[in-house]
């Protein structure tokens, strides 16, 4: 594992999420082998790597969809290893999974509403809904449509909006750019920067290394389940190895 020079780009001090020696396995197949990473408060952290490198499995372990075989995960200092997903939402985590995970049989309105499932402050929910619709006005236009009829880009907007409706402190995003047109991707990444600006920390898994590294304050490169490199996003963008392996240069 090599660290790339992070001259000048200091990471925020406060720890939000930390994984220590995480192992995730599917039966006999080791997807994640001893990964340690952290997300600081206010950061955007990117996880890049090839298909099958273990990025999605890692995210699933963090959000409680999978039980890690070994290792520890802490959120704001508290141990959350193996905690079921629905409890983690109450602790300020939201996960927009791979494939968006929107409910096609429910309307946009209903999907969004479910994002606020645990919240009891009706005013706050209304305010957040307004905010989210200001980020993605397209959703307002498709308000009563069944989410299954939305385009890929619209579904991704819905997935992110829905995740934001729980007012998370940590947003986990799995491959937001997958299958989307370039303009839509640009829009989404711009919005993600805005969202981060509002104080939401983001752990982003992305195949599109260029976009991810541009956005990220800090990044990890995963190869066959292990952290091969880490460093400041901009620094990794400059790195020879990264450019050759992941940026096609």
């Amino acid at each position: 594992m090599s660290g790339v020079g992070s001259a000048g780009s200091e990471r925020p001090a406060e720890l939000l999420l930390e994984c220590q020696g995480l192992h995730v396995a599917y039966g006999a197949i080791q997807a994640v082998r001893g990964v340690s990473l952290s997300v600081r408060k206010g950061e955007v952290v990117a996880l890049i790597g090839r298909n099958g490198a273990g990025k999605t499995s890692l995210l699933r372990a963090v959000s409680g969809m999978l039980r890690p075989a070994d290792g520890r995960i802490t959120l704001e200092g508290k141990d959350i290893t193996g905690m079921p997903s629905h409890l983690l939402v109450a602790r300020g985590m939201a996960h927009a999974p791979e494939g968006r995970g929107i409910f096609p049989n429910l309307t946009v309105e209903e999907n969004l509403g479910l994002g606020a499932w645990l919240r009891t402050d009706a005013d706050g929910v209304a305010a957040d809904e307004a905010w989210v619709l200001s980020l993605f006005p397209r959703l307002k236009e498709r308000w009563a449509a069944a989410a299954g009829t939305l385009s890929g880009g619209e579904q991704q907007m819905l997935a992110i909006s829905r995740a934001l409706m729980s007012r998370p402190r940590l947003l986990l995003l799995d491959e937001p750019s997958l299958g989307l047109a370039p303009q839509v991707i640009q829009l989404i990444f711009r919005i993600l920067a805005d969202v981060n600006g509002k104080g939401v920390s983001i752990l982003l898994v992305e195949q599109n290394a260029h976009l991810a590294l541009n956005l990220a304050g800090h990044a990890y490169v995963l190869e066959t389940g292990e952290v091969a490199m880490e460093g400041a996003g901009k620094a990794l963008l400059q790195s020879e190895d990264v450019r050759r392996a992941y940026l096609g240069e």
Partner: protein
């Protein structure tokens, strides 16, 4: 013509009752992707609870509106409890195991309950059919075509109860927050959990609702057919399941349509051939549907996720 109309009425009567049971199957399949073989037998238990209550009321002087309501309520509450128990202790532990395991368990429960109730032991009723007390004094409510066609009062009540319960369920599933969560869990329980939804609780409530509806159906069956016996759950239950499959398993309105269709077809086949073919109708209909349109009338063709 009069025969035809009478068959239509009778078919709708049976069909709406089947619908109540079919809804339970379809809801449980929706959230768990499991055929709850024991569902029909839970219905049977509800019928016997109703029977016991009815006997009590009979002793105390008879059946007014309040006692009939009480019979329904007690039966539905008892079945909701049983449904909760079965889900909690027989199905939940097996949720991450292969589907076959849960299917075998479901059949085991069905067998144990239906044949258990056939035993002559303690409070178990034994194999002999009983006659459900006449909680509603039978009177024709409407006659057509010079008395050739009769719509009975108990049929009207049966329609009212069945439709009322279905409307209630419809409201719950499509217009409440909890119903939204039910639909979400039904589509993808892992993602639903990511939103903070307590899937275990949603699944438990789904089971309880389905069981309560089945209990209501059980009482209605008892009022309709009068004869009750421990194996009625497996028989009627399986037919209701077939109805759910015909409508598209997992699809709520489909279950109702399938059930009404089945009720009508069954009634017509039996009416125009012989009652000894009754039991084969449902399965024959099922095999036809599975051959021609396996996803059912309203089902979606789902590609299996790899």
């Amino acid at each position: 013509m009069s025969d035809f109309l009478q068959h239509v009425i009778n078919g709708l009567s049976a069909g709406t009752i089947y619908a109540l049971v079919a809804l339970g199957y379809t809801m449980v399949y929706g959230v768990l992707k499991l055929i709850n073989f024991a569902h029909g037998d839970v219905m049977m238990m509800g019928t016997y609870v109703g029977y016991a209550s009815a006997l009590q009321f009979k002793q105390r002087g008879g059946f007014g509106m309040a006692s009939v309501l009480a019979i329904f309520f007690l039966s539905m509450a008892a079945c909701a409890a049983v449904g909760w128990l079965i889900e909690r202790f027989a199905y939940r532990p097996l949720r991450e195991k292969p589907k076959l395991t849960a299917l075998i368990t479901a059949i085991g429960i069905s067998f144990a309950v239906s044949y258990g109730f056939q035993m002559d032991w303690g409070f178990l009723p034994g194999p002999n059919p009983r006659a459900f007390p006449e909680v509603i004094r039978r009177q024709p409510w409407l006659t057509l075509l010079d008395g050739e066609v009769t719509l009975w009062n108990w049929q009207v009540i049966s329609f009212a109860v069945a439709l009322g319960l279905m409307a209630g369920l419809q409201y719950l599933v499509f217009r409440t927050r909890f119903g939204r969560a039910m639909r979400a869990v039904s589509h993808d329980h892992r993602t639903a959990a990511l939103l903070g939804i307590h899937t275990d609780r949603v699944i438990a409530v789904t089971f309880m609702l389905g069981s309560a509806l089945a209990a209501g159906a059980g009482i209605l069956f008892a009022i309709k057919d009068v004869k009750i016996e421990p194996l009625m759950g497996t028989q009627q239950g399986l037919k209701a399941f077939v109805a759910a499959v015909i409508g598209g398993i997992g699809n709520v309105p489909g279950a109702v349509v399938g059930a009404v269709l089945l009720g009508l077809v069954e009634e017509f086949v039996v009416g125009y051939t012989a009652s000894s073919w009754r039991d084969a109708v449902a399965f024959g209909f099922l095999i036809l549907v599975l051959l021609l349109r396996p996803e059912g009338l309203f089902g979606r063709v789902t590609a299996e996720k790899v």
